[in-house]
Amino acid sequence: MEYKERSAAVQAQEYLQDLISFKPDIKVLPSQREIADKLRISRNAVLHSLDKLKSEDLISSKERTGIVKNTKVDINMLGMKSMSSELNDDSVAIVHLLTTIIALPINLQNFFGLETNKLIKIERMRMRKSKPITYEIVYFDQAKFADLIKVDFTNISLYKLLQKKYGIKPTYGKENITCCLADKKISKILKIQKNMPLYKVDSFNYLDNDEPLETTTQYLIGSYFKYHFNANNIYDYRED
C-alpha cells in the first residue's frame, strides 16, 4: 500500500483533537496564529480544521476568550438505568409540563395490546443550568397505573417512584434511535430554532413477566448529547 502524507488541515484537526481528548487541563485552545505557527501550516488549513471540529460541536468560538472545548452530555444506553440516574447531575432539573388521559393511539396498540383502553400521558422536560435539553412523553396503561395522574413529577425520577409506589422496575426493553428536526411545538418547548436536529428515542420497557410497563418518546437536542454503548466479548457470537 502506498504512503501518503496527511493534509495540513488533517494535521491541525488531529493536533486539536489530541488537546481536546487527552489534555483535560487545557480549557481554551491555542489561537489560529499559534496553531499555524506551531505546525508550520497555513491559516487557511487551520480554519478548515476548526470548521470541521465545529461541525461536530466539539468546539465553539467564545468572544474575548477564544476557542473553547464543548462538553456533551454522555449517555450510556445500556444497563436499564433511568434517564435521571444516567444524567446523575445536580444541575439537571425535571419540569413536569402536563399529564393527560388519552385514547390508545394506533401506533401504541402493538405495545399495550388491544384490550388496553386509555393511556396516561405524562409530558416532562429536563433543564440543565436553566436551559431546556430534553422533552419527554411517557405513556402508561391507565387501568393499571390510575394513581399516576395525581403525581407531580417535578424533580421526581419516574423509575424511583415506580419502585417506591408499586414495587416494580423494568427488566428489559428495546430502544430505537432516529433523528428528526424540531417542529414548531418542540422548538418552542426546548427554546431552540425550528428545524434544529434532535435525537428521537423511542423506548419500550417491559416487566420481567413480559408485561408492558411504559413507553417513552424522548427528544434530545442533537448538539448537547452523545450516546455510548459498550459491548463485551463480541466474538462470542461466532457461528459454530
Binding site: E56, G79, H228
Partner: protein, 228 residues
Amino acid sequence: MLFKEIYTDLKLMISKSDYPPGSSLPTEAELQHRYKVSRTTVRKAVDQLVAENKVIRKKGSGLFVAPVISKQNILEMTGVIKPSYIGSSDMIKFKDSYLRLVGYYYANIFHISSNELLYYISFITVINDQLTWEKLLLPLVLFPGFDPSCLKVMSIIEAVGSGKLRPANLLQELQIIKATDEIAKQLKIKKQGPIFKTTNLFSTKRGKIVAVEYRLQDALTTKYSIDF
C-alpha cells in the same frame, strides 16, 4: 484430476487458513492453470464450495473465502447498535486506502509511537440506496499485510479480528453532527444536514485499542435499535 480432488485441496487450504476468512482466492482461470484441468472441472469444485458457504462468488470481484461472522450474528448481539438495514446485500466502493503517520492523536489512542504507520481505508457502501461512509484506521504493526479487499465480503467487526491482537470489546459512540461540504457530497445530502456519526473503538480484553472505525450516515433516514 477430478473436481473432487480440487475441491478437497481448496477446502483444506481454507481450513488451515492458508486462505484466511475474507481473503481473495485465485480466479477460476488461475485455478484452471494451477491444476491443469478444464474450466468446467474448476467451476464444479468452486460451485460445491459456494454451495457449502465456504466460498463467496462476488460478481465482478472474484472468489473470496467466506467470512466467519454472518450479518445475522451481528444482529443477534446484545448491546451493539444495529442499523436497520443490516442483513441486506451490499456494494462497496473504495475511496482511499493508504498508509499514513500515526501522529500524536492516534498515538494516544493506540498507545504506539507517533512515528509508526496506520492504514487509512475509506469507502462508501450502498445498501438499499442508503449510503454509508466508512473510515477504518488500523496500526500497521498489528495488521501487517492487511488487504482492504476483504471488506468486500466481510464485516468490519470480523476484519478487525484478523490482526495480531484479537479485540474482545467494542465501545460505540453515537453523535449527531452537521454535514460538511465533503460529507454532503459523498452522502448526496444537503450541506449542514444532520449526520449520525458512529465511532467504534475495538479493544482487547486488557483494554488496548486495536482498531478505530468511523461511520457516517444521513441521520434523517437511518434508524438504530438496541435491545437490552
